[in-house]
């Protein structure tokens, strides 16, 4: 795409920089994975488009009602307590129902009817019942941590809930990403809609709450945790409008037991990967890839990824991505598949194959944002062979692509090196 910019038109450096910055902004494109993720959510829109005037009326009434209810909740004298300054105290639900607290950092906690939460030296711990949290986005490196039994639930900004039910810990996520850790290991990484259930601990119900003076160190789990069962907790599930997906957490090599997953092979495949069972994930993705639609397309690509990254079979992975390309020549992951093939061939030592693919990619995709990376990779392969002439022409392409900056800068450095070598050969 060629551009003509009328402003700023000054000859000074500031105008020149501004023109360049605006041009860069005009050429900014999202990466394919972003587009893919968004498409996965809008491919099947939630409901057919309708535009009836009665909806406006109904919407107005609903909005007014919601506003009245919200105002009531907001103005209720004991609805919200600010507990930022409190370092150690136990909070119970109000006798009338849920209790809302605002903790340090703007974190909102809603203690359910039978919930008990303790603040120990500023750190919250769920001791009984259900507590739901809404955490504003945090600075990197400063996650919000809630303790429950021997687990740490770690978040960087999200809405989620923790419940203790019959001795088992239940965590479910509405927004953002939440991780569940024991003393040493990450046990689960939950995305919106997913939930996790820890093992039932019979003694937990009788265990007295920890002493208020000191926060007890979480006891480490056994080296090999027992396989867990994953049932959406009814207490939490009933509180939500949407059905929760569950995340499987199994002992290494154990079978994935996930009733919901059986209905959604993609979820089951991700769960199998989380549980360290790539064979099962591969089988599920392959089955899914035989269907149609975005899910099948994603699965066809994922087959290659699992083979390459989880099963150490680069040749099979390349074959899988080539099958993807044949099935979806204009697929949304086409560029990703091309790049994966090139990188995998290069890593597995098939320089000829990688160079052929890279040349084809550069010829077919003059506007791709991955152009610099591929041209640099091809340049590196030629340079490794001692073919400086071809390497220079590839680095030249990478330098001309302008971004990503690190690929361009590395290419420029290698180009200079190759040019110096060529000049040296010429002098001899």
């Amino acid at each position: 795409m060629t551009l003509r910019r009328g402003w700023p038109d000054g000859p000074d450096n500031v105008s020149e920089e501004m023109r360049r910055a605006l041009d860069e902004a005009a050429h900014r494109l999202p990466d394919d994975m972003s587009l893919r993720r968004i498409w996965a959510n809008v491919a099947v829109p939630p409901e057919p488009p309708r535009a009836r005037r009665s909806f406006w009326f109904a919407g107005g009434v609903a909005t007014a009602t919601a506003l009245v209810v919200l105002a009531g909740v907001w103005l209720w004298p004991h609805a919200t307590d600010l507990v930022q300054a409190i370092r150690t105290r136990t909070f119970h639900a109000d006798t009338v129902g849920a209790r809302r607290l605002t903790l340090e950092g703007g974190v909102e906690a809603v203690i359910g009817r039978s919930g008990v939460m303790r603040i120990d030296d500023g750190a919250p711990r769920v001791e009984a019942g259900e507590v739901r949290f809404s955490v504003p986005h945090r600075q990197p490196g400063h996650p919000f941590v809630v303790r429950v039994q021997e687990y740490h639930v770690v978040v960087v900004g999200t809405r989620f809930g923790i419940a203790l039910q019959d001795g088992a810990t239940l965590v479910d996520v509405d927004e953002g990403i939440v991780e569940v850790w024991d003393a040493q290991h990450r046990l689960a990484r939950l995305t919106p809609g997913e939930s996790w259930r820890g093992p039932v601990r019979e003694a937990a119900a009788e265990t007295p709450p920890p002493a208020p003076q000191a926060a007890p160190a979480p006891a480490p789990l056994p080296a090999t945790p027992p396989a867990q069962s994953f049932v959406v907790p009814s207490a939490i599930a009933h509180a939500h409008h949407f059905a929760k997906r569950t995340v499987a957490l199994a002992s290494p090599g154990g079978a994935v037991e996930d009733a919901d997953a059986a209905k959604d092979p993609a979820v089951a495949a991700r769960a199998a990967l989380s549980a360290g069972d790539p064979g099962r994930a591969l089988q599920l993705y392959r089955t899914l890839a035989q269907g149609t639609g975005p899910a099948a397309e994603n699965a066809a690509y994922e087959v290659g990824k699992v083979l390459n990254e989880r099963m150490g079979q680069p040749a099979s992975a390349v074959a899988a991505w080539r099958r993807y390309r044949a099935a979806y020549p204009d697929g949304i992951l086409r560029v990703e598949a091309d790049v994966s093939i090139i990188e995998t061939l290069a890593k597995s030592g098939d320089a000829d194959g990688a160079l052929a693919e890279a040349s084809d990619f550069l010829r077919r995709r003059p506007d791709s944002e991955r152009r610099a990376e591929i041209a640099r990779l091809a340049g590196d392969l030629y340079r490794a062979r001692g073919d400086c002439r071809h390497a220079v022409s590839m680095y030249q392409l990478a330098v001309g692509a302008t971004r990503p900056r690190d690929a361009v800068e590395t290419a420029a450095a290698h180009r200079a090196e190759c040019q110096a070598r060529l000049a040296g050969e010429g002098a001899r």
Partner: protein
């Protein structure tokens, strides 16, 4: 200067008729048409939201919300405006809502919380320092000036379409653009000093 800031030499080949036909097919539930619409406009919406200052971590969600809103509003598209103008208007409304939400959240955090809200994290994929500085400067403009500047200078939308998207007369759009450019240049010069 009353000339378009950016002229895209390669314009979309679609006209109002093609837009209307695409929308009609989407309304009938034609998934291929919906995919076509998404493929054509998703990168544009994403770029617009980025330039408008929607933080990286909220960008995908915002883009998704825009497309859900587009889908739900398809029945109201009559083809009087260009489809791109219509989609920009929806995207601008969402971007404005996100900016307001962040402002309110920041204000509440200042009032109630000791720890200030973290600044938006720069997109790691956008390694250009120049672009990051531009984004930072644009985010300091008022929402009305920001909208006009982003649409005209970055998106290359003609001023009459910009006025339609911003819901103001053309002269007002020019005036906002003038002041936005002046403020942006002043900020850039201050940085150099």
């Amino acid at each position: 200067m009353n000339t378009p800031g950016l002229i895209r030499a390669v314009q979309s080949s679609t006209g109002p008729h093609a837009d209307l036909e695409l929308v009609t097919r989407c309304r009938r539930g034609d998934s291929v048409a919906w995919r076509g619409l998404y493929d054509r406009y998703a990168p544009i919406v994403h770029r617009f939201l980025s330039a408008f200052g929607v933080p990286t971590e909220e960008r995908e969600d915002a883009c998704q919300e825009v497309f859900v809103a587009v889908y739900r509003s398809l029945a109201r598209f009559r083809g009087e405006a260009r489809l791109s103008t219509w989609i920009y208007r929806i995207a601008a409304r969402h971007a404005g809502r996100i900016a307001r939400r962040r402002r309110v959240r920041g204000l509440l955090s200042t009032l109630l919380v000791r720890e200030p809200p973290p600044p938006p994290t720069p997109d790691p994929s956008e390694r250009s320092e120049r672009l990051q500085i531009l984004d930072e400067m644009i985010s300091k403009l008022s929402p009305k000036k920001r909208l006009v500047l982003v649409l005209f200078e970055i998106e290359g939308v003609p001023i009459e379409e910009v006025a339609k998207i911003a819901g103001c007369p053309e002269n007002t759009a020019w005036s906002r653009l003038h002041y936005a450019r002046a403020e942006l240049m002043a900020m850039a010069k201050k940085r150099v000093k």
